[in-house]
C-alpha cells in the first residue's frame, strides 16, 4: 500500500510531468490561457492516462515487442476519442475553446511516455496509481500556470475580477507570455530542488 501511495505522489512534485520531466509542453503552452481551459484539459488528459495505463498494463504480456508503439497509440487514441466525444456532448463550449488540443492528446508525450516507461513493465495497481499521479500533477501544473496567466493577462480568475483598477498585462494572454511563465516556473522549481538537495 505504501508503495502505491508513493507511485501516486511522485507525479505531483518529484517527477512532475511539466516542471521536472518537461513533457507535454505543447498543450501546456496552448491551453493555459484560462483556468477553466486548464481544468478541462487536465481532466481529459488524466482520463486518457488512467485508461491507457490500465489497458496497457493488463495486456502488456501479449503485445509483441516490435510493434508495441503502434499498439499503445491505438489504445491511447481510443480513450482520446471517448474523451473528445464526451466533451463535445456535455460541454461544447469547453470543446470549442480547447479545439484541436483535445485530439492532440493522442500524441501527448506524457501519455506515451508513461505507457512506454511504466505501464508496460508494472502491474495493474501500480500503473493505475502512476497514471493517476501523473494526471493530477499535470492538471495542477496547468492550473498553476493558467492561474498566473489569467490573472496577469486579464485580471481575472475563472472569470471573476479580483483586483479593481488593475490594468491587465496583455502579453501574458499571448503565447509569448506562456513561454515566459513556464520558463520562470521551471527555473523556480530547479531552484527549490537545488535548495533541498
Amino acid at each position: 500500500m505504501k508503495n502505491l501511495i508513493k507511485e501516486f505522489t511522485k507525479g505531483i512534485i518529484k517527477e512532475n510531468p511539466t516542471f521536472v520531466l518537461a513533457l507535454g509542453l505543447c498543450p501546456t503552452l496552448a491551453v493555459s490561457v484560462s483556468v477553466a481551459n486548464a481544468i478541462g484539459m487536465g481532466i481529459a488528459a488524466t482520463f486518457v492516462l488512467l485508461g491507457s495505463s490500465l489497458i496497457i498494463s493488463l495486456i502488456r504480456d501479449f503485445i509483441p515487442d516490435k510493434i508495441r508503439i503502434p499498439c499503445y497509440i491505438v489504445i491511447i487514441a481510443t480513450f482520446v476519442t471517448i474523451a473528445e466525444l464526451c466533451m463535445k456532448a456535455y460541454s461544447p463550449a469547453l470543446d470549442r475553446s480547447l479545439g484541436i488540443y483535445v485530439p492532440l492528446i493522442v500524441v501527448n508525450c506524457i501519455v506515451l511516455g508513461r505507457a512506454e516507461a511504466f505501464a508496460c513493465k508494472n502491474n495493474l495497481a501500480r500503473s493505475f496509481f502512476d497514471g493517476l499521479g501523473m494526471g493530477v500533477g499535470f492538471t495542477l501544473a496547468l492550473i498553476l500556470i493558467s492561474a498566473i496567466r489569467e490573472f496577469l493577462g486579464s485580471g481575472q480568475i475563472l472569470g471573476h475580477t479580483l483586483v479593481k483598477g488593475f490594468e491587465p498585462i496583455f502579453v501574458f494572454g499571448m503565447p509569448s507570455g506562456a513561454l515566459l511563465v513556464i520558463g520562470l516556473l521551471l527555473g523556480l522549481f530547479n531552484l527549490l530542488k537545488d535548495k533541498r538537495a
Binding site: E167, I169, F170, V171, S176, G187
Partner: protein, 316 residues
C-alpha cells in the same frame, strides 16, 4: 640601470577604456537627445526618463544583492538601459509604465541570462516590446510637440503612423523631422541631438560605423525602391528622419553584447536590420519596425558570429 625591456604576454596594446568608462560615455552621449526631448515634450519627458533610470538601477542592485554577485550598478549599464527604455516611450505615459518596463528590462532582459555580457537581446528593447504588447493603448498615444500653454496634453500621431493610415504627408517638412517637431517617443524625435551624441561615440571609437551606416543605408534603399506608389518612388529621406531609426541604428543596434563581433558580421547585422525595418514599415502591421528588427537580428547574432569567424593566421 633600469630595465626598459619588459617581457610580458599579450595583449600588448593598452587603452584606458573600461566597461564603466564606455558606459558612462554612452550616457553622456544620450544627454543631448534627452534635453531635446524635454524641450519638445515638456517636463513629463524628464519624469519618465528619471523614473525609468531609477527603476532600472534599483532592480540591478536588488538582483546583485539577491544573487550575491558583484554589485554592478556603478558600471552604468543599468542607467543606459533605463535611459534607452524611456527614450522609446511616449512622454504622456502614466509613470508606472516606465517602472514596469525597466524592471522587466533588467530582470527578464538581462539578469535572467546572467547579467551584463550574457544577455542575448538588448534589454531596453525587450522592455519596450513587452510594454508595447501589453499596453498598446498607452504606447501609441503620443503627445503633440511644443504644445501651447493652457492644454494638459494634445495627442498627435507620429508621421509613420499617419503614413500607415494612408494620410497625405505633404505638410511635413524635412527640417521639422530633423529637429524633432513631430509626435513620437521622447528620445527618437530630435535627429540633430542624436547625431551629436553619435558623433561623440564615433570619435571616441566606442562604436564602429559598420552597423549604423549599413542599417540606415539599407533602410533607405529598400524604402526608396518599394516605399512609394510605384517602384523607385519611395520617400527615403522621410523614412530615415522619422521613427526610431537613428536612435536604434546608433545606440541600440550597436550594443556590444548582442551584436556580432567581426566587421563582416556587423555589415550583415546592419543589412538584416535595415531590411527588416523596411519590410515592417512598408508591409507590416505596425507603423514602426526598428525595435523588432533589432531584436530579431539579436537573435541571429550567434549564427552570424559563427559564420564570420576570422581565420586564425596560419590555418586554413
Amino acid at each position: 640601470m633600469t630595465n626598459n625591456l619588459i617581457v610580458s604576454g599579450s595583449p600588448h596594446i593598452h587603452k584606458p577604456a573600461s566597461i564603466s568608462r564606455i558606459m558612462w560615455t554612452v550616457v553622456i552621449s544620450l544627454i543631448p537627445a534627452g534635453i531635446a526631448g524635454v524641450i519638445i515634450f515638456g517636463l513629463d519627458a524628464l519624469w519618465v526618463t528619471l523614473v525609468a533610470v531609477a527603476a532600472a538601477v534599483l532592480t540591478e542592485l536588488l538582483f546583485g544583492i539577491w544573487t550575491k554577485k558583484k554589485i554592478t550598478v556603478l558600471d552604468g549599464s543599468a542607467v543606459i538601459t533605463g535611459i534607452l527604455l524611456a527614450f522609446n516611450l511616449p512622454s504622456g505615459v502614466p509613470l508606472w509604465l516606465p517602472i514596469v518596463g525597466a524592471v522587466f528590462s533588467i530582470a527578464i532582459g538581462k539578469q535572467v541570462f546572467g547579467g551584463l555580457g550574457q544577455n542575448i537581446f538588448n534589454p531596453a528593447l525587450v522592455g519596450r516590446v513587452f510594454l508595447m504588447a501589453s499596453w498598446p493603448k498607452y504606447m501609441t498615444t503620443f503627445t503633440q510637440p511644443l504644445r501651447a500653454a493652457g492644454y494638459d496634453a494634445i495627442t498627435s500621431a507620429t508621421p509613420l503612423a499617419m503614413l500607415k493610415e494612408g494620410k497625405v504627408l505633404e505638410h511635413i517638412r524635412y527640417l521639422d523631422l530633423f529637429l524633432g517637431k513631430h509626435g513620437g517617443c521622447i528620445g527618437e524625435v530630435c535627429i540633430l541631438a542624436l547625431l551629436i551624441g553619435a558623433a561623440l561615440l564615433l570619435i571616441k571609437g566606442y562604436i564602429s560605423w559598420h552597423i549604423p551606416v549599413t542599417y540606415i543605408f539599407t533602410t533607405a534603399v529598400f524604402t526608396y525602391i518599394f516605399g512609394g506608389r510605384q517602384l523607385f518612388g519611395g520617400d527615403w529621406l522621410f523614412h530615415i528622419l522619422s521613427g526610431g531609426l537613428i536612435l536604434g541604428a546608433f545606440f541600440m543596434a550597436t550594443d556590444y553584447v548582442a551584436t556580432p563581433l567581426t566587421a563582416k558580421g556587423q555589415l550583415i547585422f546592419g543589412l538584416g536590420c535595415g531590411l527588416l525595418t523596411a519590410v515592417i514599415r512598408i508591409w507590416g502591421g505596425y507603423p514602426e519596425g526598428v525595435s523588432y528588427a533589432i531584436l530579431m537580428m539579436n537573435a541571429a547574432t550567434p549564427f552570424i558570429d559563427r559564420y564570420t569567424k576570422c581565420r586564425i593566421y596560419g590555418t586554413k
